[in-house]
Symmetry: none
Subunit: 122 residues, 2 copies
DNA sequence: ATAATATAACACCCAATGGTTTCGTGTCAA
DNA sequence: TTGACACGAAACCATTGGGTGTTATATTAT
């Protein structure tokens, strides 16, 4: 690891529950690696690796303060995720309205009904 | 019964570029496995595995039609991702002021509280 | 200076991932 | 019925990821 090229993008970075929890922690304030480690049942080295991955994805940034390294959130990088999501938003709003229609007419099976119901081909 | 013990959640499902591409394809219309495979430089089995993962994450659903299995997008599951994202949204434009505010008033322990707490722009 | 602390840098292990191929089964069409 | 097609399941393999521990280095405190 420790490659110069970035192997991790935002999508991979947030795929891990531990890393998502770290991000949540960092919304509070800057934290050192050891400090963050105290919240998790794993070694400091493991947490440092997670932080390195988050750092590659530009979701956090670390600055050296004395002998500690303080990490802080860099939430702007989540913009990429938001934009990716917005592409699908139109589709699932559409789906939800259809779902509502289905539920109104037949309200037993819910989500599973839809897959045999609406099939608009382009 | 909301199923149980799913190996793959939404976050892991979208971590893979191939799977994201599959989702994009499925926004157009239902597609069979072989049809989807034609878009990728990998075997049909590999694509089927990706589809299985997407299915576990409830991002797609498949129905058998004759000897084909047609997959369709199930974008409602992206709602979970959207909600996760919305938690951080409040931080990435005015993160400095909020961060300062949080540090001054309260320390940790309130991770879950914060999402209902500070949603006002300063 | 010395000791204690915090992080970095490695080497190593195990499990999971992502791909392959092969084989079997059910389905559609001559 | 026969054969091509679409899929599923399983075995298999290479690579990577996340975990461990150990050691090294730099900073702070005494």
């Amino acid at each position: 690891m420790s490659s110069s090229a970035e192997k991790y993008d935002v999508f991979q970075a947030i795929a891990d529950p531990t890393r998502r929890e770290v991000l949540k922690l960092l919304t509070q304030k800057e934290l050192s690696i050891s400090n963050i480690t105290s919240y998790f049942p794993m070694s400091r080295t493991a947490v440092a690796k997670h932080l390195h991955i988050l750092s590659e994805a530009k979701l956090v940034s670390g600055r050296k303060v004395g002998r500690e390294k303080l990490y802080r959130l860099q939430p702007e990088s989540l913009e990429e995720l938001k934009q990716w999501l917005s592409f699908f938003e139109q589709f699932w709003n559409n789906k939800l309205s259809i779902l509502k229609h289905v539920v109104e007419n037949d309200e037993q099976a819910g989500l599973q009904v839809i897959e045999t119901e609406c099939d608009e081909q382009k």
